[in-house]
């Protein structure tokens, strides 16, 4: 009589509907938690077999679940749960003992399942000992946004000018003592600033200070060049003092031309020339310069 019922059950499950059945293109799977193989077969269906057994794992412990005909009408007590030993050998022997007169398929599959479970438990334990790599997915939009914002922040920070200011301040404070390694670009810049400042403030000492500061802003020029500069300045002092106006105008024009490239060659001379000049006639020149510039 029960056989008859099981035949009907299987014919319904197989041909009609079963809520645990999952169909793929190649195979039929069974989502029932007690299924031994995970496939939907006549021999592996826990619903269509009155005598059935599975091995399941819970928190690292393996349990043998058994179902017999006598209990088939009482779903709550249907599955008998036996804890298997942690050692694979003993557990296999236990299975043999409990499923002694059971059909070979179920015995075989239970043991296979136990083997697989124990293998993956071992693997899990090993993995935990090693460094765990955590996979973090890349958020494309966020990455894009952050990159753009970094760029903007970089531009906004204006590192160059900040560094300049910092270095100038340090010079002012006198942390560097007396240094005469003045890079050309910085020197010119400083000069310009001095000119503007002198328009406002009119201080020789102040001008000198500013000179020094400006020159120190970027330490690019070699010491050799600087030595040459000093030598030239000493030599040229005499010459340039004589021809003031012409040379001054030339210098002015040259300084006006200070955009990018011409600085390299002319600025050296300019620096040396201007050192002595600044004290006397510079003010008038700056005035005129400014007048020119405004025009």
């Amino acid at each position: 009589m029960t056989m008859y019922i099981l035949i009907i059950v299987w014919s319904i499950i197989n041909k009609s509907f079963c809520s645990y059945k999952v169909n793929t293109k190649t195979q039929r799977f069974c989502r029932n938690e007690y299924n031994l193989t995970g496939l939907c077969n006549r021999s592996a269906c826990p619903l269509a077999n009155s005598q059935y057994a599975t091995v399941r794992e819970e928190d690292g412990n393996c349990f043998l679940y058994m179902k017999t005909v006598e209990r088939s009408g009482f779903p709550r007590n249907m599955w008998e749960k036996v804890k298997l030993s942690k050692s694979l050998e003993k557990a296999l022997r236990q299975i043999n003992e409990y499923l002694i007169y059971w059909p070979g398929f179920i015995k075989q599959k239970c043991k296979q399942r136990l083997l697989k479970i124990s293998q993956y438990l071992i693997r899990m334990r090993k993995l935990r000992l090693r460094r765990q790599k955590k996979l973090v997915p890349i958020q494309r939009k966020q990455e894009r946004r952050e990159r753009r914002r970094e760029e903007k922040a970089l531009v906004a920070a204006r590192l160059d000018s900040a560094i300049e200011k910092e270095l100038l301040e340090r010079l002012k404070r006198g942390t560097y003592g007396d240094i005469y390694n003045f890079p050309q670009v910085a020197f010119n810049k400083a000069l310009e600033e001095e000119e503007d400042a002198e328009v406002n403030m009119e201080g020789e000492d102040y001008g000198e200070d500013e000179e020094n500061e400006g020159e120190e802003a970027e330490e690019e020029i070699d010491e050799e060049l600087e030595k040459e500069l000093e030598e030239e300045s000493e030599n040229e002092e005499i010459e340039y003092v004589e021809a003031d106006s012409d040379l001054e105008r030339e210098l002015e024009s040259e300084s006006d031309m200070e955009d990018i490239e011409p600085k390299a060659t002319t600025s050296v001379k300019d620096n040396t020339r201007r050192k002595p000049r600044l004290e006397i006639e510079y003010e008038t020149e700056t005035l005129s310069k400014n007048a020119k510039r405004t025009v």
């Binding site: 319904i12 009609s16 809520s19 645990y20 269509a48 779903p75 709550r76």
Partner: protein, 370 residues
């Protein structure tokens, strides 16, 4: 034909889901043959019976006096609307291909909406459905979560019929471990896909347990607000509730009086039904369905022939013209022929040799002589 079937005793559970001590013998209905094909067919037919007729208006598409312009006017020959002064004039009419024309085969109200189903078939289907509801495997495969239910079929004491508060109903379902099935209903509440949404069928969900009672003393009011739960009286068992969708195996909770009434309603095979005139449970086509047991039985073994145990294996064909053994198999005398032929050949050879020898000797002597 009396059927000897095992009909165990089912324990009745009290409100706390403990065995209340009383038992009921399983009604014979639960051992009726389960015929999913009959259930499916009957359910389909029954579902046709609650349809509302629909059709298009009789006049639709014909409320014009259109007439074809005939040939010779460089237009297609479908009837065209008479008159002038509107867009409509001269437009095609009447045909199913025309805009504003009548549809092809307009639906008629005298379509056969309802189906007549044989009473016996209906009863058969119902018996099958009830029988299937007692088999836990079928109920599980239908999708109900009954893993922790104490027993199948589930019978509760009649006290439940007096419930009038939903709270009590919920407590009972929880105790019986049927609440997971109701939770499943909660989880699957969603909007229907398709136009049914705007046709008053907006929400769908799965079905939960079915409560079958003997006498409603407030039970309906207590259970009806729980989503998924349906209620029917034993006297009015409904196939649409017992096998929704044509699939057998709904999770049923019976009250004791309902359970006991089943024998009277459907009879046992020994006894006819008391409440249905001249009705008895359907007889199965085969009483013994265990194929292996049948084949081993004496009656069949006596009649069948011996099994053919010969194992035919594929053999390699050997060419008799080249393979001596194969030739011998076909013609045993060939050995003799060959031997004799070999002897003859040898004899000839010897003779030839002898002759040659003689000739050589003769020539040698001649030489010597000369």
């Amino acid at each position: 034909m009396s059927k000897v079937v095992a009909r165990p005793l089912i324990t009745v559970y009290n409100e706390k889901a403990e065995a209340s001590g009383s038992t009921v013998q399983l009604p014979a209905v639960f051992r009726a043959p389960i015929r999913p094909d009959i259930v499916s067919f009957v359910q389909q037919q029954m579902s046709m019976n609650r349809r509302h007729p629909y059709c298009v208006s009789e006049k639709a598409g014909h409320q014009t006096s259109a007439e074809s312009w005939g040939t010779g006017r460089a237009v297609a020959r479908i009837p065209r609307v008479r008159g002038g002064g509107t867009h409509r004039s001269g437009q095609g009419a009447y045909g199913n291909m025309c805009r504003g024309g009548r549809m092809f085969a307009p639906t008629k109200i005298w379509r056969r909406w309802h189906r007549k189903i044989n009473v016996n078939q209906k009863r058969y289907a119902l018996c099958s459905a009830i029988a299937a509801s007692g088999i836990p495997s079928l109920v599980m495969s239908k999708g109900h979560l009954i893993n922790d239910v104490p027993e199948m079929p589930l019978v509760v004491s009649d006290k439940v019929q007096e419930y009038n508060k939903t709270k009590q109903a919920v407590v009972l379902l929880r105790r019986l471990r049927a609440w997971t099935d109701v939770q499943k209903v909660y989880k699957t509440r969603r909007f229907r896909a398709g136009k049914g949404k705007m046709r008053n069928r907006r929400r769908t969900s799965k079905l939960g347990p079915l409560i079958i009672y003997g006498k409603d003393q407030g039970l309906t009011k207590a259970f009806r607000n729980i989503p998924g739960v349906s209620l029917i009286s034993v006297n009015k068992l409904n196939l649409m509730k017992l096998a929704p969708g044509g699939h057998v195996g709904r999770f049923c909770i019976w009250t004791e009086s309902a359970f006991q009434r089943l024998n009277a309603l459907y009879g046992t095979w020994r006894q006819k039904s008391k409440l249905k005139s001249d009705y008895n449970l359907p007889q199965p086509i085969m009483t013994g369905t265990d194929l292996s047991r049948l084949l081993k039985s004496d009656e069949i073994q006596k009649v069948i022939r011996r099994p053919r145990q010969m194992v035919r294996r594929a053999s390699v064909k050997r060419n008799p013209l080249t393979n001596m053994r194969a030739l011998m198999k076909l013609n045993p005398y060939s050995a003799v022929i060959k031997k004799s032929a070999a002897k003859v050949a040898e004899a000839r050879k010897k003779n030839k040799e002898a002759l040659l020898e003689k000739k050589r000797q003769a020539s040698a002597t001649k030489k010597v002589a000369a």
